[in-house]
């Protein structure tokens, strides 16, 4: 089913007359939250392939400049800009967000809070259809005259605002429209998530009985809603600049390019936390299940997450320390930036404390979850370097930044996604994935991943700056040593991509030939494990009542070491 969903997706964007409930209706026009979640997931995975392919093309160009890249062709300067721009946009807007928030949110929220569907199923479908439309528009932007947009995912004006500067007249506009459509899709989806989990909880489920992943997805949706508004207004203004010729952001006509940077990063920084929080939630579910432990300090984690979410709104200008903002402002944002390390550190400490006294079983999802913690930790601590405004003078727009945010985004979007996928695969498809192949995939991803980005810290320290298609114009950077490092990173990258075939094989073969999954293969507590795998339409034969929190593992006096939320008595 998976592959066909991807290939037929484009049809769903167009209206159809009413069919009878056939395959098409069931999988493309369904209002069932599980199907919509899978649609998001397959679209997101398809986009991940596109984004990975782009990364492959430009990493090859960096390692072997001027060479014809196998399966791609030569990468010129304009094309290089287009590849990095769209790699960034795709991975954040069309992979991390749909998979982590929309896919897991759609599949998990109704199941975990014990109701039969989202509160607005048709709005949910509309959200996916707008999202799909945004994908189509993005692909259109690659094929218009001048090629795809090449002004980086931040799309700073005046470069992005004036066609004479960026040379991608319609490419820039279509990119912007695609991003704006994606925002609208997630606004609609987010309202649905928030309303569902606020209003449709199962009887007996208190605020503190909600599984962490639901909390995290809801908080992420709220943060998204609050941060994206000004940027939507800004996108309209930028689109007017591009298409009509107004000068909101063009200084030669009286505008101010810095305003866009503020609008963008007022969204862009919370956006990091928007995708981080769901991943943290997924990891919490997995760690408690496989350590057979109660989550250490549920309330502490919850409150520190609130604090993180609040602080995330007042740190945005640390992306602009040397971008021309008033230097006095940098000191304020330096303090808030380093403040945010405090709640995040508290969350990570609590996660690690969860392991204490556990009975840890290293199944594939657990490996991914632990891998997430370690790699994200490195991403977090390198953030301190960049948050320090004075050091940012040296590191701004260098490969140190690239390595840093890949150490945060890769664990979030890819490791977190795989963790969730391996964990909930039985619930999604009713079959188990192969454990050995899963472990091979894990090690084959995590080791090359470090092989890519640890070296990039070093080239960043050597002063190598970003978004350069070929370093031959910078004599200090075009040395054999640095080139060797670039080749090493590229070889690691190709290795990592090759290991994804293990996953693809495992994923699709298990879907049809895997061992049939019982309702609760991991002996987990939350409500989604109390229904058959995969859950039928309407989820629960009888809507559950909740008696306790989601992490009551190894409770003394119980026969079993888990205690489902809807079980009235001791077992």
């Amino acid at each position: 089913m998976g592959q066909t969903t991807v290939t037929h997706d484009s049809h769903a964007a167009h209206g159809h007359d009413h069919h009878e409930q056939g395959f098409i209706m069931k999988y493309f026009f369904s209002t069932d939250h599980k199907i919509i979640g899978l649609q998001y997931m397959f679209t997101g995975m398809f986009m991940a392939i596109v984004g990975g392919y782009f990364a492959y093309a430009f990493r090859m160009q960096l390692a072997f400049p001027g060479m014809e890249v196998p399966l791609y062709g030569t990468v010129g300067p304009g094309e290089y800009n287009m590849l990095i721009t769209n790699h960034g946009s795709i991975m954040i807007f069309w992979v991390a967000m749909p998979v982590l928030i929309a896919a897991f949110g759609n599949i998990l929220i109704p199941l975990m809070i014990g109701c039969d569907d989202m509160v607005f199923p048709r709005l949910n479908r509309l959200s996916y259809q707008i999202f799909l439309l945004s994908v189509v528009v993005l692909f259109m932007s690659f094929f218009v005259q001048g090629g795809g947009f090449g002004g980086a995912w931040t799309s700073y004006p005046p470069l992005s605002a004036v066609a004479e500067y960026n040379l991608t007249d319609w490419g820039a506009s279509l990119w912007l429209i695609a991003v704006a459509l994606e925002f609208v899709a997630f606004l609609i989806g987010g309202i649905n998530f928030v309303t569902t989990s606020m209003n449709a909880r199962a009887p007996g489920m208190r605020m503190t009985d909600i599984p962490m992943v639901v909390w995290m997805i809801v908080l992420a949706s709220i943060m998204f809603m609050a941060s994206v508004g000004p940027l939507i207004a800004g996108s309209i203004m930028l689109l007017m600049d591009q298409r009509i010729g107004t000068t909101f952001f063009v200084p030669s006509g009286g505008g101010d390019p810095i305003l866009w940077q503020h609008l963008f990063w007022f969204f862009g920084h919370p956006e990091v936390y928007v995708v981080l929080l769901p991943a943290l939630g997924i990891v919490a579910e997995i760690m408690t299940t496989f350590a057979r432990k109660k989550l250490f300090g549920y309330k502490t984690i919850l409150y520190t997450t609130f604090a993180t979410g609040g602080l995330a709104f007042v740190v945005w200008a640390h992306h602009q320390f040397i971008a021309g903002i008033d230097p006095r402002m940098a000191n304020i944002f330096l303090v808030t930036t380093l403040l945010i390390s405090i709640p995040i550190a508290e969350i990570l400490f609590s996660y690690i404390a969860t392991l204490y006294g556990g009975s840890i079983e290293f199944r594939t999802p657990m490996l991914w979850a632990l891998g997430f913690l370690i790699t994200f930790l490195l991403g977090g601590v390198t953030g301190i370097y960049l948050g320090s405004s004075a050091l940012d003078i040296y590191f701004h727009d260098s490969y140190f930044v690239v390595a840093h945010f890949h150490y945060t985004f890769f664990p979030i979007a890819i490791i977190g996604m795989f963790a969730g996928l391996y964990f909930w695969y039985p619930k999604m498809f009713g079959r188990m994935m192969d454990e050995t192949l899963g472990k091979i995939h894990f090690w084959g991803t995590i080791i090359p991943f470090n092989g890519i980005f640890l070296p990039l810290f070093l080239v960043g320290m050597a002063g190598q700056h970003r978004r350069i298609y070929n370093f031959q114009h910078f004599p200090d950077l075009a040395t054999a040593d640095l080139q060797g490092i670039r080749v090493f990173a590229t070889v690691s990258m190709v290795t990592m991509l090759l290991f994804q075939f293990v996953f693809a094989y495992n994923f699709f073969v298990s879907m049809f030939k895997g061992e049939k999954a019982p309702a609760n293969p991991w002996k987990s507590n939350t409500l989604e494990w109390t229904v058959p795998s995969p859950p039928p339409h309407g989820n629960f034969a009888e809507l559950p009542t909740v008696y306790r929190g989601p992490y009551e593992y190894s409770v003394p006096g119980n026969k079993e070491d888990y205690w489902p939320q809807n079980m009235p008595d001791r077992n």
Binding site: V162, E164, A226, P230, G245, T247, V250, P251, S252, G253, G254, D256, I258, L259, H262, F266, F313, V314, W316, A317, G324, I325, D326, P327, R328, M329
Partner: protein
């Protein structure tokens, strides 16, 4: 549902809003700056309060909704004051807006929507 509470007299509120509207138009005509600010924007806030509180029934809604809307406005304030240091001013520490005071040594200009 909203039916549980006594309804305000909508027409009265509407008449009050119209009076406020007239004040907000006449006030600025006098040309006194502080009066302009007060009548134009102070009265806009009052009007907003009446529409929100009575037409939108916020006064009879859970307190939580007030909270939600206020948080939104506060965050906008954060955005505004974070940005104001750069965008609202024509100069600052070690930088100046050379377009507004015409000191740019090198600058292309937009004329009639075309880059010159």
């Amino acid at each position: 549902m909203a039916g549980a509470h006594a309804h305000p007299n909508y027409v009265k509120i509407w008449a009050l809003l119209l009076v406020l509207l007239v004040v907000s138009i006449i006030g600025p005509e006098l040309g006194i700056p502080w009066l302009t600010l007060l009548t134009a924007f102070g009265i806009a806030l009052v009007k907003t309060y009446y529409v929100a509180a009575y037409f939108m029934h916020l006064n009879f809604e859970k307190k939580y909704v007030w909270f939600l809307l206020l948080i939104s406005t506060v965050l906008l304030g954060v955005f505004f004051f974070g940005v104001a240091g750069d965008v609202m001013k024509a100069d600052g520490q070690n930088w100046q807006d050379c377009i507004s005071n015409n000191t740019c040594a090198e600058q292309q200009r937009y004329v009639d929507g075309q880059l010159r």
